[in-house]
Symmetry: C2
DNA sequence: TTACGTGCAAACTTTTTGCCTAGAC
DNA sequence: GTCTAGGCAAAAAGTTTGCACGTAA
């Protein structure tokens, strides 16, 4: 895998992100630094990273693929209106994972959890 | 909500399915009974059912929307090597969501949870 | 110099929308 | 008879692919 500026920037952007990001989002963020960057390049690289296990590819509830750094273990509560996010400190899954490993035979090493809702500010604004 | 043959058939098809089904899948299954059925009708109805809480809309790991009976809320366990997936019927979050709503002031209405690990077959192969 | 990476445009897939007719109430 | 539902076709939105050129090794 060759080391190009764009490739490095894309990976850095995923890693620096809090929570999963879409190809489009990364594309936007890199527009300034790389005005000629193509969206297809972002897709191709993300796909490659996912294959090589550098990032995790997942589908978010809006139906678009999002990518997350493997070391990103935080869970978020994100507002579906203003996209603000709150990081959660608790994770209810560690207990469950052990039971699931027994039941399924998988070795579980990671999970991705994001909750969606409407934040207090947006609820207020709606009235 | 009017009661039409097609609408009833679509809902019945979701309910009869074990696990989530896509619009396309339902469309295929109803082709024989309703040769003139349009795919857009399937989409419109599924969307409507989801809004009214009759079915649950979810994104499966391949990126397409799938719909499941309301009582069939589930999550996926996916193998990071061969990408095989198992669907789980357990969800530890319903209990947690209520607590989080209190703590954060958000109204939580959905969540996305996927677990990653290595499946039994891949573990075997690794040896 | 060779092969991999990238931009651009076009293709593809899945989902949504508009418009007009058909059918439920 | 009125108003919702549905068929058809086209449009959107997201993602992938082919090709020619650029660039890392």
């Amino acid at each position: 895998m060759k080391n190009t500026q764009r490739r490095a920037a894309i990976l850095a952007e995923v890693s620096a992100s809090q929570g999963p990001v879409s190809a489009e989002e990364i594309f936007q963020r890199l527009q300034e630094r790389f005005p000629t960057l193509a969206l297809s390049t972002v897709y191709r690289n993300l796909e490659r990273f996912a294959e090589d296990g550098l990032v995790e590819k997942e589908t978010s509830p809006d139906g678009v693929f999002r990518y997350a750094g493997k070391d990103d273990h935080g869970h978020y509560l994100v507002c579906t209106q203003c996209h603000s996010r709150v990081r959660l400190h608790e994770c209810p899954l560690s207990a469950m994972e052990e039971k699931l490993e027994e039941e399924t035979g998988f070795s579980i090493d990671r999970h991705q959890l994001t909750l969606y809702g409407i934040c207090p500010a947006c609820k207020e604004r709606e009235k």
